[in-house]
Symmetry: C2
Amino acid sequence: MRWGTFMETARRTGRRRGGVDTRTQILDAARIEFARKGFKGATMRSIADAAGVNVALPAHYFGGKKKLFAATLELPAEAREQLLAVTRQPEIDAGELTRTYLGLWEDPDTRGQLLAIVRSGLGGGEAIEWLRELLTEALDDAASSGPQQKIGLVLATSHLLGTAVARHLTQIAPLSLLPFDELVTIVTPAIEASLRIHLDG
Amino acid sequence: MRWGTFMETARRTGRRRGGVDTRTQILDAARIEFARKGFKGATMRSIADAAGVNVALPAHYFGGKKKLFAATLELPAEAREQLLAVTRQPEIDAGELTRTYLGLWEDPDTRGQLLAIVRSGLGGGEAIEWLRELLTEALDDAASSGPQQKIGLVLATSHLLGTAVARHLTQIAPLSLLPFDELVTIVTPAIEASLRIHLDG
DNA sequence: GTCTATAAATAGATAGAC
DNA sequence: GTCTATCTATTTATAGAC
């Protein structure tokens, strides 16, 4: 009867009962803390407290704050893949791009990672390279479509980033309350307009 | 011959020659530091160093770090007025809104303040209320146009925020290099599309 | 594996000399 | 008005007991 402190943390599917190890608890808590306060704002103590473990354990398991942060941002690789699958197509579908991109922000797990990246990157830390990389990678990969489409894709991506920030970060009134399907519906026209941009004329 | 250290700081019009006081130097340096590193990232020491003054003077003049930060974000009131002048019109002009909004980010002075707000607000600090206020104020003031236009304006503002962030903060490759006029030209269609949005249909 | 205790660095703020 | 010196609090990181 000693697991009274486990609380309701084990919501993930497929999680082994005895395997709710402190390492995973720390990682989950770190994601939340970094997402909410950025790299500098989140402290090892606040992470340890949120995880319900001793203050020394985060450093013990991950070898330092920066390494813990890096571990936090580990898996958005799959998110990148989803985006690339859309942008690699010869003719990018505006609705599909909008739904995929904003959809990444709807899932609480990936949203936590994206928030951590945005919070820490835009917050003035060193993580801004990661953010730039995340944005330009989908871009460079789709650059084979020619420079004309490239500028349109940058524009579209920027608009989608702004939309996600307004909905999930600053939580502007009507945007943050819209059902996801309606959000996609009203955002798509602008993305369509951006993708069709051409510089001359 | 002791003002060899004054450098080229006195670019503002109407600045008294003997009045390049350390208080102003500190304020200018604080703007840059807060804009680059966010509230937590910028330290009183780094600000003092950047201003070329003693470490004790920032606290001495402004009474603390938070008060110094507040002083930094003082004048965006005029920026807000410029935006309101556009959004208050019965039929908002997409090109005019785009030019005004993105224009605020082109001026180094207001850009510094906007960067400080975004960096500190999005970075997880308490300044997120200021950012939300800045975004919603132009919104509420234009809400007399009816809820239909309101959602369109939110969308447009979000897209413009994303564009400004991509150009000035993450500095995505083609966006950050475009001349301002071209930027306005290619962004306007999406803003136009957003402003014309209606939910039912 | 987990904890206490503490080291080492850094931050904001202030007192008092000049 | 400006500076040196210092206090206090907080943070990361680690050493060593249990």
